[in-house]
Amino acid sequence: MAEIGHGGKAIVERIMEPKEAAEKIKGLTQIPIRSQIANEVIGLTYGYFTPIEGFMNRADVDSVCKNMRLSNGVVWSIPLLFDVSDEEISKYNLKVGNSVVLTYGGNPMAILEIEEIFDYDKKAMCQAVFGTDEAKHPGCARVYECKDKFIGGKVTLVQRPKINAPYDPYFIPPLEMRKRFKEKGWARIVAHQTRNVPHTGHEWLMKGAWLQAYAELPIEKPLVGVLVNAIIGEKRKGDYIDEAIILTHDELRKAGYFGDHNHLTSLTFWDMRYAGPKEAIFHAALRTNLGLTHHMYGRDHAGVGTYYGAYDAHHLLATVQDELNITPVYSMNWLYCPHCGEITSEGICDHKKEWQKFSGTVMRSIVLDGVKPPRLIYRPEVFDVMIESGEKYGFGSPFVTDNYLEKRIPVFEIPPLK
């Protein structure tokens, strides 16, 4: 039976068999792609972005910008662009109707069928998607860095990427993910979007969302799970290294703060746009495709700086809720109350004057100062795995450094096509 994804369309993997692939790529022009495009090729071909099958044509980009919908009417909030320069169009002789091979790391990754070559006003795109055209907004910066022409067309993987350790167990594409959920017997699964090593505020966000999602379901056997879905993409200096993010989240399960019966860690390849409300809509589609039934949204979801209001994402989600197959779970902040002597929710505790709020940024400062936080704030097992990850994968630091950016283990590679 088909697995139905966002927009009511069946999830289909667009991946060729090796023999077919070797034959299909013969004689085709090869174009190298950068990591952002490679990440999106994986998203498109494994069905993470269902119903979309390729990079967007002009009609879809225009409709996404102006109506937050694909041209077929399905809700979609962020353009998926394949950019090329005029020089490349000329150099590779790119023409509508042709197909080209996209290479990553020198090896064939996918075939792109060129359906359209077009241009688009980048400033207008930024204003529509990000609510600003300022170049200092990281999403706008990413659009402005694009070359001036775009290619629309379907993509098909010519071989599966090789996911390197320690990431390999956490790459669980939509069809496989849905199988796992069935095996676990989960009736409801709530998504936790992350780019952080978890402190207990995050842990309680997950626990709170799990309780909210459980609601009226019977409790004789485990029926609800939390899926941690880490976004793996471009890193900035000072971020936690990807290995630390993934391994510490899984440590929450291994160390018993959660268990196999209610917790699973996974990753999605995507370069954050920091589009706030629009990224929240994108996350709803992405996690629907992964088979989730609920999605956590906190304050300023996927925002940056002061571009978006704390609850803008919630308000925008409400406008299209009837068309989404995922239920938002809105989360209040969790904090430490010395009076209660515990982590509590700002929606529960009334010792407001005593509240001590903490964030991922504050935790990073504490770690940078060489201090191990108490277990009520940061689980010791999580702390130890973070430090070990830094030593093993981060050249001595759990935070991204120039050295890490230059020499890190690639999350995935494309092997030579046999």
Partner: protein, 99 residues
């Protein structure tokens, strides 16, 4: 209206605590977050802007704590040394003179 002030949290590790004890300042830190010791040095608006400009890795946590975070450790060590020298956390103006 009182001027807004933004804390820089100097978290007290063992090395810093030993220095505070030696200087007779072991009681100076506050306790936060279930047992962590911290010295809170406050910056006003202009000082906050200067800090964020002078130290590009620093970040103002505008969403949650309204504090200045992610200063390099050597910079925080200098702020800490200034606190020990002046036996006070009211040192921001003095500290920023060097920048």
């Amino acid at each position: 209206m009182a001027e807004e002030k933004y804390p820089i949290n100097i978290w007290i590790n063992e090395e810093r605590y030993a220095k505070l004890q030696k200087a007779g300042l072991a009681e100076l830190p506050e306790e936060m977050l279930a047992g962590l010791k911290v010295l809170r040095v406050y910056a006003n608006d202009a000082q906050k802007d200067k800090i964020l400009k002078t130290f590009p890795t620093a970040k103002f946590d505008s969403a949650t704590t309204k504090s200045i975070e992610l200063l390099p450790k050597d910079v925080k060590d200098k702020i800490f040394d200034k606190i020990v020298e002046k036996q006070s956390v009211d040192i921001m103006a003095d500290f920023l003179k060097a920048y």
